[in-house]
Symmetry: C2
């Protein structure tokens, strides 16, 4: 039985929230009014009925329930809720969508009660999954994670990735709230108001589903109570709602997705909403004051590298994870069903409790990582560099959520060999370079990989580590340091006529070219650009000053890679930067054959340098 | 009733195919042997039983049935099938995975019977969807499209995007064949041999499902016959198979995903396969010799632009589609539920029969476009530039399939304004520049947009067109030409001290800066770089020769965009290229405020140039 007075209070609150949504969007002159009105009752019912537990003065409390608006455009509702909770004044609400206001067009972490920035649809459920995974398996805390989903965004494949993994991990602490308001941006959704269409799909993935009228508080409250009683599986509350609910002349009407009311319409709408009580205050009950489970990883046996034994950097990555884990116990390792290729399986074997198999579903892996790092974890997530492209949109969005995720892409470049182009990461450097303040590492040997994995763990931010399929010689001693933003001059002399800048596999091609050129009396400098971003401008400037020009050589497409990074660093100096990169359609073949074919091998380096000499450019 | 002699012949053929898979993979020394053996009976039963109709001498016949290996790593099976069909000799088969051979590690279009390159998992069903859509709604031909799927790849969200859209469009000519061999790359899949787990999920999306033993020819043949009788919905044949089937010591064993047999193991395996008959020849029945429906779009009313009325380039895109369609009747327009924002709805209203709503599922939209262009269509596909990131992996793969797809991304840059960072395409130029031989257009006004859409349609290849949310002035006359690889000098004089290179919204900032600087006696050249790739090297060289240095200004992140494209074009000339780009965390605000904040506005251009003058660099 639902308490009648409680219902009345919720109805009052919902009126207040609708009022705030209406005035703030009309004030802003744009925004998603109707998408905010449809889930209002659902979220008022969650937040203000005693079900949601949250210490409003400590949004970071480890045992707070979490709420994510996957439909980030319902931000006016989100801000109005926290206004009702006393955390945003009406005056502040009126800064909605204005420059400098934390109340942005789609929810972002500029507003302290936002867990993660959303607005690119179909991402919130994966983020929630990461938080729920954290609660159940890592922090071992009883908090619940709620995700508000739009019906239109259910067409994103990423949703089904999240659905399957949440069920796979029995996340009964994850509750989705699906706001089926029938209308997308440009018209009706694929399934309209057919709740059973969603029920069939979602339950087929192993979720419990509860169908309700999303504007009936008794149904809403009962659904949450039921949801909290379900064990061993996640729950989706599927609610029939009306887009624009509460304002008769926009209810269930197409064409209002991105529109707000003008002043006359607002006056009319407020009349319909009726009397509101601004003095009404809500109490959100605090969660139990519990702390995350303490976890102290035992030390594992180390590995040491010797110059007589080549090691693939992807393998060194796996060993490095194991080595550093005791010093970084907030680490969590995820992989997309290729842990025997990325070698994250080395970590998995040692610390299975901190490894999560994410299967071939890279978008959800990236979203889960975001959720984990919202809860203070440091996720290392790996797959082939090529397949990280699958998660570009999640990677892009993570930069707007202050992410602290370490992405690791193996099988970089054409040196993958026989498997052919589909498996070759040839645009990964370009992709990760576009991310604001990202760090991009490309180690050449096992020692530098080992050190760079540790640097990645130390650094608070987005880091990409590019690893190589095949074994490469160990060239560094274990005392060498590899700071962020550094590079290594590996060959140099006073007679150097050009600096060759390489990284990863091409470093060894450059070293071979160095030897062969030396025999014909041509001296070159060789730099290992193990950190592509931020780039070591000072060292590049020094090198170009000393040798007059630069030749970059990379196993990556010409655009957005090492060549362009070096050019940008030196753009203002006006010195020539030549480059060798992958520029022909790659194919299957032996790695050496492909490096030659793409003209990024020793042979190509020597040829290019001799050509420049002939043309009197050196 | 299934004919006994037919079954015996198929069994014989399956033995031959298994023999060919075994010898070719052992010969190659690598490859996916076990993943090829599990679907052998399924595909032998399809291709050689009379069900599949294909003119082997005319693989491009418009009424051929189509077969796509979404699990592209089963390529040894694919090549062996065409060997049995007499199209590849055993000697040629032995070039598998070797440099220069069309028999690549994962199926690519280098081999003429491959419809589209695969190998990045979870993409084949969308490609098949495009082909089936073509058959049913465009060419109106009775051919069927078959897609072989792996069980492990069913975890990719893109699969569910394809499942929902195929059902939405009632594609009863699309038949999936799901090879449930239980094992992924590193171990068991999420659902192992539980066929009903797949049945539940797939049927929930509106597909017919048929469960069979994938090694029983009677069941296989009956399933295809049944599938062909289903109307109004697509069908998935869900087959229980054994990974490595036919070779006892690798059957259903983990650890054999990427491994092949050594010579001793091969001898043992061939003994198990038993006697094979190399003389056996197969007949694949030809399809009816039908031609695609002729379609002549009627001319629609044109629109003309005048310099007194600003128009958003996104809107000009919609009008351009309508204008050019009668001249390019193979065009098909797709959109991901934002046609009222990208303005592809202008085309939809005029030619609804050639517009397909793809809902918010960008990966499937890109895959569908690939399928359409495999069948000779020219797809224009649009969404926000930011959300095309979602399809990066499909875009990447399309370059390996000789794609002829036109991607259109609206809402480019921070000039999107109030909606905030989640909606801003700020890495789209970088992404599309990485694609081999891609063309990247960024029109500034309605006239150039109109012309560039036509250029895109004319060009055979991947084209990206970047459009802007807000209105911009019309600056070009309708007689102006905008060839691929061109640029426009829009302001110039003999006293120019620097060339400002801009495109899209920043062109207008540069023009405003020009006026203001002129008043203080500072003359600048302004170039509209409407085509970012291929870049107009000659014009850039001329400009830098004449003015001494260059300043690029772009509404895009600094990496991989216009600045780096220009630097790469001029890298060997050793002249300074300064640049202004988005380098701070974007936020909500008015477009003008954001351009100022990111220092890519008129104010920033003037400031930078005055700074360079002060530093005596100009």
């Amino acid at each position: 039985m639902v308490d009648k007075r409680k219902i009345e209070k919720l109805e009052k609150l919902a009126r207040l929230i609708r009022y705030l949504i209406l005035v703030s969007t009309t004030g802003a002159g744009s925004g998603h009014l109707t998408s905010s009105l449809s889930p209002t009752d659902l979220i008022v019912g969650l937040l203000f009925s005693g079900i949601f537990r949250f210490d409003v003065d400590h949004p970071g409390h480890p045992n707070n329930d979490r709420l994510i608006f996957s439909k980030g455009h319902a931000s006016p509702l989100f801000y109005a809720l926290w206004s009702a909770a006393g955390k945003v004044t009406e005056e502040e609400l009126m800064t909605l969508r204005k420059f400098g206001s934390p109340l942005e067009g789609h929810t972002t972490t500029a507003f302290p009660y936002v867990e993660a920035s959303t607005g690119s649809l179909g991402q919130g459920l994966s983020i929630g999954l990461g938080m729920a995974l954290n609660a159940k398996y890592i922090d071992k805390l009883p908090y619940n994670t709620y995700v508000l989903l739009g019906d239109s965004e259910m067409s994103e494949g990423s949703q089904y990735e999240a659905l399957q993994l949440a069920a796979h991990y029995n996340l009964d602490n994850l509750i989705g709230i699906l706001d089926v308001n029938r209308l997308g941006q440009r018209g009706e959704t694929m399934y309209g108001h057919d709740l059973t269409a969603y029920e069939k799909r979602i339950s087929s993935f192993g979720w419990e589903t509860i169908l309700i009228n999303g504007h009936s508080f008794p149904e809403i409250l009962i659904s949450y109570e039921k949801a909290l009683q379900v064990s061993n599986k996640p729950v989706m509350v599927i609610a029939k709602t009306i887009k624009g609910k509460g304002v008769s002349f926009i209810e269930d009407k197409n064409g209002w997705h991105g529109n707000v009311l003008n002043k006359e319409q607002l006056a009319q709408a407020l009349k319909e909403i009726g009397e509101i009580d601004k003095s009404i205050r809500v109490e959100i009950p605090k969660p139990e004051d519990l702390k995350p489970e303490k976890y102290v990883p035992r030390k594992a046996k180390g590995i040491s590298y010797t110059t007589d034994k080549p090691v693939a950097t992807r393998k060194a990555y796996g060993y490095a994870l194991v080595r550093i884990f005791p010093d970084f116990p907030t680490m969590v390792v995820l992989d997309a069903e290729v842990s025997n290729s990325t070698y994250s399986e080395i970590f998995k074997k040692e610390y299975p409790e901190r490894f999560f198999e994410m299967y071939i579903a890279e978008q959800n892996m990236a979203g889960t990582a975001q959720g984990l790092c919202c809860r203070g974890k440091v996720p290392f997530i790996s797959t082939f560099g090529a397949f990280l492209n699958r998660a570009f949109d999640q990677i892009r969005m993570s930069q707007y959520s202050d992410a602290n995720i370490k992405f690791v892409g193996s099988h970089a470049g054409v040196s993958v060999g026989q498997d052919g182009p589909s498996q070759m990461g040839l645009e990964d450097i370009a992709m990760f370079r576009t991310i604001l303040n990202s760090v991009v590492f490309y180690p050449s040997d096992a020692v530098s990989t080992d050190k760079l994995v540790e640097e990645a763990a130390k650094h608070n931010g987005i880091v990409y580590i590019r690893t190589t399929r095949n074994e490469t010689p160990v060239i560094y001693s274990k005392d060498e340091e590899f700071p962020i933003g550094g590079s290594k001059v590996v060959r140099s002399g006073s007679k150097d006529i050009i600096t060759v800048i390489a990284a990863g596999v091409t470093l060894f091609e450059a070293l071979d070219a160095y030897e062969e050129l030396k025999e014909s009396g041509i001296h070159i400098r060789v730099i290992d650009l193990y950190c592509i971003k931020p780039i070591n401008k000072k060292a590049l400037k020094q090198a170009i000053g000393a040798t007059g020009s630069i030749l970059t050589v990379e196993d990556h497409y010409a655009e957005g890679g090492i060549g362009e990074a070096v050019r940008s660093a030196l753009a203002e100096y006006g010195m020539p930067v030549y480059s060798l990169a992958v520029q022909k359609m790659p194919k299957s073949g032996k790695p050496e054959e492909l490096l030659d074919y793409e003209e990024i091998s020793k042979v190509a380096i020597i040829k290019k340098i001799k050509e420049l000499i002939r043309e009197e450019k050196l």
